[in-house]
């Protein structure tokens, strides 16, 4: 156990698995699979495993996704790290091939592969294509892939281990805004389930559900609401598909109030699915949802920061539900 950054935690998981499995490969583009951490050896997958197994490519994310998919089909575990700028360039490959090949072939096709899809860090100032946070929905609607989104370094590592060991294609979303998180993360390999939401705080008055990039603000807001005396149950979805309906329903059975928080665009954001699942199963509850407006993120920090859901927005919405 040591304090570790997000990327160090993830590459630790990958390094271990690549040492076990001599056939496993890693495809990257801009970001070399390198991480350092105080008091720990530098991890550099490229130099450790060599350029036949760890290779960068030109700006062709369709190739990156197709390459790991083809590797998986040919019997090798494979992972790719696709930068956020290309996270929709590979969309069709995952939607129409990774997601369907197993079923379409009656189980003949095997795809033990992981698509790490970076999402933007959502820093103010970048606008449109470099601050957008939207692909959670696109990828969670695809059948046949598991779409997961960790929000802590500990989960990032455990879910990476599970993703690599899972025989199914996994879309592993990585909101790069979380790259600055540091926490105690175990050194050994451990698996974190790919189908279970995490109840981060228990409480009886209101359920607040977020995922990935919205979790830090959800947690901040939950603390503030607790200080105001409200019993907040804060849930981190972690897996968008399959979605852990049971945990969600059990919570709202108890609280009768559900607030969802997304950085994704409002229309058809993951929160819509959360509300729909709960509304189908819990009578008499009340619902609210906040999300990024149905507008691309503008460059101006003034505009962007006003639009991006933050702890204040969460608190204000929760108060309305609690009234």
């Amino acid at each position: 156990m040591a304090r570790k950054s997000w990327m160090y935690s993830v590459l630790e998981a990958v390094q271990y698995e690549m040492r076990q499995d001599k056939n496993m490969t890693w495809i990257f583009e801009l970001t070399p699979p390198v991480a350092s951490n105080p008091g720990k050896p530098v991890i550099n997958l490229e130099t450790e495993f060599g350029r036949s197994r760890v290779v960068n490519t030109g700006i062709d994310e369709m190739w990156m996704a197709g390459c790991v998919l083809g590797s998986g089909l040919a019997g090798s575990k494979s992972v790719t790290y696709i930068p956020y700028q290309g996270n929709c360039m590979c969309f069709q490959m995952i939607q129409n091939h990774a997601g369907k090949l197993r079923h379409m072939t009656g189980g003949d096709a095997e795809m033990p592969v992981v698509f790490i899809l970076e999402m933007t860090g959502q820093s103010p100032g970048f606008a449109g294509q470099h601050s957008d946070y939207e692909i959670d929905t696109y990828y969670a609607h695809i059948p046949g892939v598991k779409t997961v989104i960790p929000s802590t370094p500990t989960d990032a590592k455990g879910m990476m281990v599970s993703a690599i060991r899972d025989p199914n294609p996994i879309v592993y979303l990585y909101p790069a805004g979380l790259r600055s998180l540091v926490e105690d993360v175990p050194d050994e390999q451990y698996e974190t389930p790919l189908d279970k939401a995490a109840v981060r705080i228990e409480g009886g008055d209101i359920t607040i559900v977020g995922s990935g990039g919205s979790m830090p603000e959800v947690m901040k807001a939950a603390e503030q609401l607790q200080q105001e005396g409200a019993g907040v149950e804060a849930i981190d979805l972690r897996s968008l598909k399959p979605m852990d309906t049971e945990t969600l329903v059990n919570s709202v059975q108890k609280t009768k109030r559900l607030l969802t928080v997304d950085q994704s665009y409002y229309t058809l954001c993951p929160g819509a699915e959360v509300i729909a699942r709960v509304a189908e199963n819990v009578d008499g509850a009340r619902f609210k949802r906040i999300a990024f407006p149905d507008a691309p993120p503008p460059a101006s920090p003034e505009m962007f920061l006003w639009m991006r859901p933050n702890a204040d927005h969460v608190v204000a919405a929760a108060r309305k539900l609690l009234d």
């Binding site: 490519t57 190739w63 069709q92 009656g106 003949d108 199914n168």
Partner: protein
């Protein structure tokens, strides 16, 4: 740097060089990654078949002949079924006319053994020929095409998504474009793990214009992958002539900038195809990287199904379903039927005394019966259990049946 050798059906080689000398010449020639081909008339007489093919043992040649016939009769049996049995539900993108390509290529591959040893092929929406040439069981295919629970893929696939890993048949794919990228990806994994396998991607002339074409060739070239792109130029993608989507006459030219061999081959001559494939396979296995092979060929039927066809008659004629921008002329179909790959190969085999005419007929009759039996067997197979539709999404379990509240 690339070596493009043009195939021109008009050329006639009048050289009478004895075959051993010719072989030496061809070896040098083929060393440059090229294969030449001539017209539809008996190739061997002119000596241009090439040395690899001539060295093949009679059993192998006979097997290649049978395989071509198996494709032909699997398809013809199904065409007739579609035309004569109103209740028959199967469909197909028929392959006849192109048999020499699938068989020529797959005969140069390793098709048996463990999954870690067998060569892999990726197919298209027109998969029967590739599958049969790779060794997929036609009974199971016939059952799959008719959505039977005991079909090759348990009724999930139908024609457009059949796959059979056990013989390295990685699957048909209904999309145009991504297949070659995945295939090159498989070649990447194979190289990374140090295996000697090679990967062949079959793609039509239609694949040329897809963005993926560039990605597959560029990355295969950069990483020197054991990857062979067999582009079956049957002149049309759906109802459009390839000149609507490709500015060059020989698509093999596209190999040039990538610095890989681009080879044009007569797709009606199985031995020419075999030679080109053998070169490419040897290169790939030796770590010398990818090859683009363009096989000039033709499909006798229309893009899809049996419209324009008559029971018992080979090919489809005169059917124009829409006011199509460029519908193929019937004369073109007839001209290509006159260069039938099975006829061409049969003549060569008889000429080489690998078999006589009677043996050839006998072989054909047996294969035809095999096809009829396969479809008859398929007809008896059970239909699928509806509820299995929510299985096989993931390796484990089922997904909920959300159509039911």
């Amino acid at each position: 740097m690339s070596e493009n050798i043009k195939f021109s059906p008009e050329t006639t080689d009048t050289s009478q060089t004895p075959s051993t000398t010719r072989r030496t010449f061809l070896k040098a020639f083929a060393g440059a990654g090229a294969a030449v081909s001539l017209s539809g008339k008996l190739a061997w007489a002119n000596g241009e078949i090439g040395f690899w093919a001539k060295d093949l043992p009679p059993e192998k040649l006979t097997e290649m002949f049978s395989t071509m016939l198996r494709i032909r009769w699997f398809e013809r049996t199904m065409v007739d079924k579609m035309l004569t049995e109103p209740g028959y539900r199967g469909y197909n993108h028929f392959y006849p006319g192109q048999e020499a390509v699938a068989v020529g290529v797959c005969s140069a591959l390793n098709n048996t053994g463990a999954f870690e040893d067998v060569d892999l092929i990726y197919s298209t929406h027109r998969p029967s020929g590739h599958a049969i040439a790779k060794g997929v069981d036609i009974k199971k295919m016939a059952a799959e095409y008719d959505f039977r629970a005991t079909g090759l893929n348990k009724g999930y696939a139908a024609e457009m998504h059949i796959a059979d890993k056990s013989v390295g048949f990685m699957g048909a794919d209904g999309m145009i474009g991504p297949g070659p990228v995945m295939a090159a990806g498989s070649a990447f994994a194979i190289k990374a793990r140090g295996s000697k396998q090679v990967v062949v991607n079959f793609g039509g002339d239609g694949t040329y214009a897809t963005p993926a074409f560039h990605g597959a060739l560029n990355n295969a070239a950069l990483l020197k992958l054991p990857f062979i792109y067999v582009l079956e130029n049957n002149l049309y993608h759906q109802y459009a002539h390839y000149s609507y989507s490709c500015p060059m006459k020989d698509i093999a030219e596209a190999a040039g900038p990538y610095g890989i061999p681009g080879v044009v081959v007569d797709g009606q001559d199985v031995l020419q195809v075999y030679n080109a494939a053998k070169e490419a396979v040897d290169r790939a296995r030796a770590g010398q990287g990818p090859t683009l092979i363009e096989a000039k060929t033709y499909r006798y039927y229309n893009h899809w199904g049996a419209p324009g066809a008559k029971p018992g008659v080979l090919g489809a004629f005169g059917y124009d379903p829409l006011a199509i921008t460029s519908f193929r002329p019937e004369r073109e179909v007839r001209a290509w039927l006159a260069r039938d790959p099975i006829d061409i190969f049969r003549k060569t085999l008889v000429n080489w005394e690998v078999m006589d005419q009677a043996k050839a007929d006998e072989t054909e009759a047996a294969v035809k019966q095999e096809a009829i039996d396969a479809f008859a067997w398929a007809d008896e197979q059970p239909l699928c259990d509806p509820e299995h539709g929510v299985k096989n999404v993931f390796v484990e379990g089922t997904v909920p049946a959300r159509q039911l509240a």
